[in-house]
Symmetry: C2
Amino acid sequence: MADVARLAGVSKQTVSRVLNGTGRTSERTRRRVEQAIRELNYRRSGVARSLATNSSLTLGLVVPALDNPYYADIAQGAELAAWEAGYNLFLCNVFQDAGREGAALRSLEERGADGVIVDTPRLPDGALAELLGRYKAAVVIGREVPLEVASSIVVDDAAGVQLALGALHDAERRRVALLAGPDLYASSTVRREAFVRSERERGLFDPARVVIADTSPEASFAATLELLSRTPFDALVCFNDIMAAGALRALQVAGVRVPEEVAVVGHDDIPMAAWLSPPLATVRVPKREIGQRAVATLIAGLSGAANTRVVLTPELTVRESLSGMG
Amino acid sequence: MADVARLAGVSKQTVSRVLNGTGRTSERTRRRVEQAIRELNYRRSGVARSLATNSSLTLGLVVPALDNPYYADIAQGAELAAWEAGYNLFLCNVFQDAGREGAALRSLEERGADGVIVDTPRLPDGALAELLGRYKAAVVIGREVPLEVASSIVVDDAAGVQLALGALHDAERRRVALLAGPDLYASSTVRREAFVRSERERGLFDPARVVIADTSPEASFAATLELLSRTPFDALVCFNDIMAAGALRALQVAGVRVPEEVAVVGHDDIPMAAWLSPPLATVRVPKREIGQRAVATLIAGLSGAANTRVVLTPELTVRESLSGMG
DNA sequence: ATGAAAGCGCTAACAG
DNA sequence: CTGTTAGCGCTTTCAT
């Protein structure tokens, strides 16, 4: 910057003014400075700038596993919103490890991120609160946190379950099974409870039709086979689309026709869902919107807005795994 | 830091020494400093540190689209390697837009990233070279660049095509079609040329069996239908697994049995490939390794190593879409 | 409209 | 083993 100032024959201050478009500068001076910048191919150091302003126009997003397209979509939504607001978004994938979730949060802080968005099932409430407390603002996705700690964006899980069960009930399915995810995910617990409650109200609940598995196709493949051997069912509600993919395959291998014999409903509506065979009906979560809202909320928080809680509503995407006509 | 120094009754310098484990410090002083740090819940500013040291222990990774699990896997590999080497990895998803690829590279630079890894088809060579020139080191994935510009990690695309075609030939397929990606992707061009060459050598090439489509399931679904209506074929080689998913669905809708009537081979081996129906045979690319090698190469470059070119070899993963016995 | 001085929080280089 | 002095590249305040 000093070089630019020298070449343009002005002070560093003036260069700074031109760069920021702040204060007044005569047309002529500005031209000279801009020219010098171009000639020197100068680029200002965001690091020094951050140090001086104590702000970085940088946001962090911490997600547990990018290999689930669910998070990839959230990331894209966030990315887009951040970009439009003039912020940068740094994504930290923490690869399913609580220790690294903390480390990511700390390092984002050290690097001067103005705020963070976290979607992390693993970090205990206390640790999360402490880590987030160091930021000017923070948003938590998929998990309720006290408003003193951060804003949160969650999906109405119970509503999603009702949607799926309602449609299955309309399709005359009376023995609905649930392929739940691990309780590690708060939303899995919520959905399982909603499932139990709802089926019980209909007088259709049978605990033998509930099985818990890891969120991998492999695990849900195995769990589905086990379920098949254990008890009859005519519909299967899955914790997410990845698991549903494993389940579909298991049903196919077992010679069970979908949806004629067993209807299958996934959750999330990842891009692949429509291309499974049969195309997977699923509870659609507005992933992009989650990302966008998270960023919007975060930026609002940075300008002093109070923390809020946003609840998004899922929709049912009907496809052949539910509606028949394979 | 000044606060810590005061509380511990030492100079800032000593605190810095303790923090960095550099230089010698008496056991007693260190204890006192550590105690003070804990009491004040102090955390050092990476921003100031970067400004002073002109290094940030931060790496950037720029990918075109996280919604393709291919990139997600590369990111995970990179993430892991960076973590183990004590570096942070900031991921920038640039959402299929050349302008933002440049913007991401610039902002990473401004934020003080020590080096970057880019996997970007869109940025023209010249612009890429200029942008990368500002970093101490850089690695390009999936694209050849002059060694003066950066190191590169590429996959032997021609070998992958040979693998697929060899297996199809062994399976007595004599009318192999190619569902290519846009030429935007250098590797698509390379593979298409390898395909043409190879089939021609066998005396089996027919240009009518080559079709180009966008890398989405929708586009490849449509392209496959069109191909079906245009010319007979008994095998289909796809640019990637995402496209293969669309193709599988098209074949199914058209009532074509896979693999009995048409064998299908994808590319990349994304996690979902094994769960499509039928499970998708595919040219397996060592995605995790690409990420790891990229980071290793980058870190080597940061310590002054000369740029290198790494060529990784793909393998064929045989599954039912190729081997029969649906 | 522009410049000079001070300081953001840290490390580097030198003393002691 | 520890403290002192500069200075990283920018913005902020106050003059002019």
